[in-house]
């Protein structure tokens, strides 16, 4: 009898988690280089919801993982010459933040007092030969589509843009950073292009997220009603049987 309530509960738990993820997507609708996520659901394969009197075929809902859409976000012109956007899905700027390698799509870079190109968080942007150091006295840096940085017409370095064969290897680390959670190695992304003076917006589709929000709320309500009805049913059963 409680099966319905338990299965309903498992659905409610995943719905709450879905809401958390949608909330994070909407909160980050304006975050540079943010990639939208969604919860992947499935039926629990291992353990069936069990009750001696019920025929089998009832499964709990299980969230197996999250899917991250690495699709291109829209490019926004900022006019700042240390802002960079990558055009090309699944490619990242390579960083070194002291704790190891990190990857980002957020190309709002700056210079530290020594002239090293860093993120706003202070992680050093990696070039072909390690950190990129610019001398502002040489003039404004201009960056070509392949990442080559030149000042006054002379190349001074190259932004390293990499990708992974399997994007599922990446884990979000907050602050717009991704970390490599597997032992897959990054390879150079030759097809991706760097755009100077632009930033990549998030690829959150607000309409879709609001629709998800409505769906989640309605699904939650109907599951709740189902649990209520199940409760009612058992209460009435107890009442009637008790009277006899």
């Amino acid at each position: 009898m409680e099966n319905a309530a338990y299965v309903g509960l498992s659905r409610q738990m995943t719905l709450r988690r879905e809401l958390d993820i949608v909330a994070n997507n909407i909160a980050n609708a304006d975050t540079t280089g943010f990639k939208v996520e969604q919860l992947l659901l499935g039926a629990e394969i291992g353990e069936r919801a069990r009750n001696a009197f019920v025929r089998p075929g009832v499964s709990f809902v299980l969230d197996n993982g999250i899917g991250r859409d690495y699709g291109q976000g829209s490019l926004e012109q900022t006019g700042r010459n240390l802002d960079f956007a990558i055009e090309g899905e699944g490619a990242f700027f390579e960083l070194d933040d002291g704790a190891g390698e990190a990857y980002t799509r957020d190309g709002a870079f700056t210079l530290d007092p020594e002239g090293r190109l860093t993120t706003e968080g202070g992680a050093a942007v990696q070039g072909d030969g390690g950190d990129i150091i610019l001398d502002r006295a040489l003039g404004e840096p201009s960056v070509a589509a392949d990442g080559t940085i030149s000042q006054n017409g002379n190349p001074v370095g190259r932004l390293s843009v990499v990708r992974f064969d399997a994007l599922a290897a990446l884990e979000k680390g907050g602050d717009g950073l991704y970390r490599n959670a597997s032992n897959a190695t990054a390879i150079e992304a030759t097809d991706a292009q760097v755009r100077q003076g632009m930033l990549e917006g998030s690829n959150v589709n607000p309409i879709l997220e609001i629709t998800n929000l409505i769906e989640i709320q309605r699904a939650y309500e109907s599951v709740t009603r189902m649990i209520e009805n199940t409760n009612d049913l058992s209460r009435r059963a107890v009442e009637r049987l008790g009277r006899a």
Binding site: I45, T110, E114, E171
Partner: protein, 262 residues
């Protein structure tokens, strides 16, 4: 429910965004003002199920894991230092910088501040000062009998005094540049201060490599683009509304659950 707090962080971020945009719009006509932009970053993530974890006794592995983000935070609010358009004013002591660099100003506290606002004037002693009466560095004094003043592209200040035809040089304006201009700290009154993040000032002559030229009789308009700011404002407002929708939804879901036991 985490969603409530996540959406609250989104609303706080958009509020900051509106504050930055409103400051830009308020300073649309401020001489030498540089627009600012709020940049956001995602907050930390909770690993509910770590990728690569075993998902069954048969050794199957979770391919993507579940990471749930906790919202958004302001990564930085940085100044976009592109050139504002030079506006002709005809002012005798108005100087605009075309290119990189800042004028140096001596504060009453003895510290040096930096500014792009070149709408200067003279004080009672004939010294070149800012609107607030702070002396421009290096000190430049214009003699009282000066008939005409001209400031060259490279910052040379020349005057023609009464009764002469030959201009005489009375001073040289200098500019300061920084490695990381975005690291300068704004203290109001169009002034900026050096910080550890900006690096030390590198002083040079206007027109040298890495320094802009001076335009006499002009001031630099702010680089705020009204259309861009208004559209940013619309985006910020809608994003704020959507976050509030999340809060409403989470609230209603909680209330539905709370009513089950009636």
């Amino acid at each position: 429910m985490r969603a409530l707090r996540t959406a609250a962080s989104g609303m706080a971020a958009q509020q900051l965004n509106v504050e930055v945009i409103s400051n830009n719009i308020a300073n649309m006509n401020t001489v030498g003002f540089k627009r600012q932009r709020a940049e956001f970053q995602d907050l930390l993530y909770q690993n509910v199920e770590r990728m690569g974890a075993q998902s069954s006794a048969q050794g199957t592995v979770v391919p993507t894991g579940i990471q749930i983000g906790a919202g958004v935070k302001a990564g930085s609010v940085y100044r976009i230092t592109d050139q504002g358009s030079p506006t002709q004013t005809g002012g005798r002591y108005d100087v605009a910088i075309d290119g990189r660099g800042y004028f140096q100003v001596l504060l009453p506290s003895g510290e040096t501040a930096f500014t792009r606002a070149g709408n200067f004037a003279l004080n009672g002693e004939g010294q070149l000062v800012t609107d607030d009466g702070y002396a421009v560095q290096p000190n430049i004094s214009i003699p009282q009998d000066a008939v005409d003043v001209s400031i060259s592209k490279s910052g040379q200040v020349q005057v023609i005094t009464a009764g002469t035809t030959e201009p005489s040089i009375v001073g040289q304006l200098e500019l300061a540049s920084f490695f990381n201009e975005a690291g300068l700290e704004a203290i109001g009154d169009n002034l900026l201060m050096e910080t550890a993040a900006s690096g030390a000032a590198n002083v040079g002559t206007p027109g040298d490599v890495g320094f802009g030229q001076l335009l006499h009789g002009y001031t630099e308009a702010s680089n705020v683009d009204a259309v861009a700011e208004i559209s940013a404002l619309i985006i910020a407002q809608r994003a704020y509304e959507m976050n509030s929708k999340v809060i409403t939804t989470a609230d209603q879901m909680l209330s539905v659950s709370a009513q089950v036991k009636s």
